[in-house]
């Protein structure tokens, strides 16, 4: 690990763009290919890339294991919570129409929120599975 300067500099150049790409895939999923699953994997891959180049402790200082472990149930809670909100607004479970003034905007908002829930769970799961395996090397 002496000759890894190129790797480290390259990683530092790449990582912001991986995160940007993940966010693009997330929020452009309504218009092009992509969505929460793909964006979640890209975001998880960014953390894993950082952990591989700079070491697990460095990555865990930036993205602590507790945070990613909370993210796993949090995403499911966001998804299911959107459904409960629509129940409380008088519609069927996971029917996003009452979330905004116009039903179609409510649908759009609901899709965005639900996809965000998917992103949170997928990114959290991918990162914490990697953390758990990599943590066993110690």
């Amino acid at each position: 690990m002496i000759l890894d300067t190129i790797l480290r500099v390259g990683a530092k150049l790449f990582i912001p763009f991986i995160l940007l790409f993940a966010l693009y895939v997330q929020f452009h999923g309504d218009y092009g290919p992509g969505g929460g699953f793909q964006a979640g994997v890209a975001a998880g891959a960014m953390v894993i890339f950082y952990a591989i180049t700079f070491g697990l402790p460095a990555a865990q200082r930036i993205v602590p294991p507790t945070v990613v472990e909370i993210m796993i149930p949090l995403g499911v809670a966001i998804f299911a919570g959107v459904g409960i909100v629509s129940l409380m607004l008088g519609a069927n479970y996971l029917d996003y129409s009452p979330l905004a003034h116009e039903p179609e905007h409510g649908q759009h908002l609901g899709i965005l929120l639900v996809e965000f829930g998917v992103l949170v769970t997928v990114a959290g799961t991918m990162t914490s599975i990697f953390y758990t395996f990599a943590g066993r090397f110690e």
């Binding site: 895939v25 999923g29 290919p33 969505g35 793909q38 890209a42 796993i72 639900v114």
Partner: protein, 184 residues
């Protein structure tokens, strides 16, 4: 014409990668080859215009699985242990199952035709109404998150369960070893 040539070439490469996975005993090579297989499959899906699925296959199958498998390889041996029993029974089971599956494909509608039952059921409704009902131009996203929200909630729950399961199996033990946090 060009498209079927590309598909054919990709499928041949996929078959080669699969053969390599079976033949090799160096597990590092096997992991890399299965990543290659996933990436080729993603390319096939791009040729079929299924970009959303292709993206998932490339990200999860080729990227994430390969990284996780390599991490696991670091914890175990790099060489495959040779099986002690003869491979005849598994070979027969796999051969018969494969033959049954190929026989079943004979009943499928012709590849890619528009009259297939799957394109006649709810798909036309989604294609016609998804923009006016959800304002989302990508029909795949509209179907995934809105029309089929229940299914997607189920999928997220599956990922949640997998993540929690891995954490319970691997972290629980380590916590007990330390006599600390993760102990049940």
């Amino acid at each position: 014409m060009i498209e079927s040539l590309i598909t054919f070439a990709l499928l041949v490469l996929m078959a080669a990668a699969a053969l390599g996975v079976v033949r090799l005993h160096d597990l590092f090579a096997v992991v890399i080859l299965s990543g290659t297989y996933s990436f080729l499959l993603a390319t096939v899906l791009v040729v079929f215009d299924a970009v959303d699925v292709a993206m998932t296959e490339a990200a999860v199958g080729a990227g994430m699985s390969t990284v996780l498998m390599l991490t696991v390889l670091g914890l175990t041996k790099m060489e495959e242990t040779l099986p002690v029993h003869t491979p005849l029974l598994p070979l027969a089971v796999a051969g018969i199952t494969g033959a049954v599956l190929i026989y079943a494909t004979l009943d499928l509608p012709e590849f890619g035709i528009a009259e297939a039952p799957i394109h006649q059921h709810v798909a036309p409704y989604y294609l016609e109404h998804s923009i006016e009902q959800t304002t989302v131009p990508n029909v795949v996203t509209a179907v995934l998150a809105s029309y089929r929200g229940y299914d997607t909630l189920g999928e997220v729950t599956v990922i949640f369960t997998a993540g929690i399961g891995v954490l319970l199996l691997l972290k629980g033990r380590r916590g007990r070893g330390k006599g600390g946090e993760g102990a049940a």
